[in-house]
């Protein structure tokens, strides 16, 4: 059974995105499990700054040698920054999934409830183990 890296400072969606609340902004990326399942990432179709995103709805697409997969917003809000480094070096998602963030969201007043609905690291670990 493969073991996946977990970042203890983030919360996880069942669709394998992570969300890190950081000084009023939520940083979003995909989990180690997700990057491993995708295999080598080759392209990421990022949202645009100013886009409004809704928790659980698709925001972006990550393309790997294997497939194109939806990336959902773990929390609602407005996209305030995108990680332009991913345009030329998408492979950093495979190498450092918890550093290679996709976009940052300025959350709404629903943030606390939305974060509460996400999985804590230990719960996500169990969730992934059951998928295997």
């Amino acid at each position: 059974m493969a073991s996946y890296k977990l970042d203890q400072s983030v919360k996880y969606a069942k669709s394998h995105e992570w969300a890190r609340a950081d000084d009023g902004i939520v940083v979003v990326g995909i989990s180690d499990y997700a990057q491993d399942a995708l295999s080598d990432v080759v392209y990421i179709d990022l949202p645009e700054v100013g886009d409004t995103v809704t928790a659980g709805k698709q925001v972006s697409t990550v393309e790997s040698v294997k497939a194109a997969e939806d990336v959902n917003a773990p929390v609602s809000g407005e996209v305030v920054e995108i990680n332009t480094a991913l345009e030329d070096t998408p492979e950093i998602v495979n190498e450092r999934p918890y550093d290679a963030w996709f976009f940052k969201v300025k959350p709404t007043d629903k943030l606390d409830a939305e974060l509460a609905a996400l999985l804590a690291p230990a719960d996500y670990e169990k969730f992934v183990a059951e998928l295997e």
């Binding site: 080598d40 080759v42 393309e63 040698v65 194109a68």
Partner: protein, 364 residues
């Protein structure tokens, strides 16, 4: 029940990610990852388990007469030790399978696609009827490996006294390698120099390990199906089920160079007609002008009208471009033609470019 090659346990032990392919459980990649495996073949060498491919032997006094009819390449151009790509066609000119033929001592070896093995067998048997020729299944006795890349020769040479530099591209020798009697063809499906190796099944695991050890210092990596696909794609070699099918004829697939019109073969009349009337569609190379990954089955459009579809597409690891092969009507097939690939409902600009995307680097 999925079939396994003799190397199944070896792949699992090496951390190969096993997937179903044409009824077989095969590694799509190893922990190194498909991109690294791809680059290894372009710059050093890669080792592939391709034992899912079917290996048929055809022998007997009428073998050559029958084979001449069955496939499109002219066997009169082949001498013992030669190997060549060819196509089996139906009467209507569409493709039964694309194959590789080896003219060995007093027999022929035909390599067929795994997905077509049963179909090909029945079709060939049917056409051998009434001739003094025998079709023999060798797939269970021979394991098939491919050692590909610029360093393939120097790695393989460590295991044999046979002077491999004398083995020309598209020829084969039967010789002792690593203590086994091996058929070594200077052939492949990657666009690089290299060998396809037919070894006795019982020696397959030891031979695989011996090769990996011999090539370790040269950068040899075990490679999975994903790298095999991206390598053949860059070299613009067709893959049955994608660029070839019972609905596609070889002239559409730009395989006219394999057809020997000056001899009879099944499908010749229908294909001559296509040749005179021009094919209704042609295989083209596309390069994305707008960044997007073109994938199989995506529509290709011109001025908002769908005119064709993608058969294979990906980000080319060697060329670092988003590329596709697609079928379009001849009017849209000229180099430089601007087309769109529809990616998740959005038209993304592309342009018709030359195939192959990557010029194969075979030994002169």
């Amino acid at each position: 029940m999925l079939q396994r090659t003799p190397l199944y346990e070896t792949h699992v032990a090496m951390g190969g990610r096993m997937v179903e392919f044409a009824g077989y459980e095969l590694p799509v990649q190893y922990p190194t990852g498909p991109t690294a495996e791809h680059h290894a073949v372009r710059t050093a060498a890669g080792l592939f388990d391709i034992d899912h491919m079917g290996q048929f032997e055809i022998g007997g006094p009428d073998a050559e007469i029958c084979l001449q009819q069955l496939q499109v390449w002219d066997l009169d151009q082949m001498v013992e030790g030669d190997a060549h790509y060819s196509v089996l066609c139906y009467d209507d000119g569409t493709v039964v399978d694309d194959i590789f033929l080896y003219k060995l001592h007093s027999r022929w070896l035909m390599i067929v696609n795994a997905s077509n093995r049963a179909k090909d067998w029945a079709w060939i048997e049917h056409h051998l009827h009434g001739y003094d020729a025998a079709l023999i299944e060798r797939s269970d006795e021979l394991a098939m490996l491919a050692l590909q890349g610029p360093k393939a020769e120097q790695i393989l040479q460590k295991l044999t006294s046979y002077p491999l530099a004398t083995v020309a591209p598209r020829t084969a020798v039967e010789t002792e390698i690593g203590g086994l009697m091996v058929i070594a063809g200077r052939t492949g499906y990657t666009g690089e120099d290299g060998f396809e190796l037919y070894v006795p099944v019982e020696g397959a695991v030891a031979f695989w390990t011996l090769l990996l050890d011999a090539g370790k210092a040269d950068g040899l990596l075990a490679c999975g199906l994903a790298a095999r696909d991206s390598l053949r794609f860059e070299a613009s070699m067709p893959l049955y089920g994608h660029e070839l099918s019972p609905q596609i004829n070889p002239l559409e697939a730009r395989l006219g160079w394999t057809m020997s019109w000056n001899k009879p073969f099944i499908g010749r009349d229908a294909l001559l007609k296509v040749k005179l009337e021009k094919p209704a569609r042609l295989l083209v190379g596309l390069e994305m002008v707008e960044k997007a990954v073109p994938r199989e089955h995506y529509d290709v459009a011109s001025d908002g009208k769908v005119i064709g579809h993608v058969t294979s597409g990906m980000k080319s690891p060697t060329l670092d471009k988003f590329l596709a092969m697609a079928y379009v009507p001849p009017a849209y097939s000229a180099l430089g033609t601007r087309l769109d690939v529809i990616v998740r409902g959005q038209p993304k600009a592309a342009v018709v470019v030359k195939r192959p995307f990557y010029k194969p680097k075979y030994k002169a």
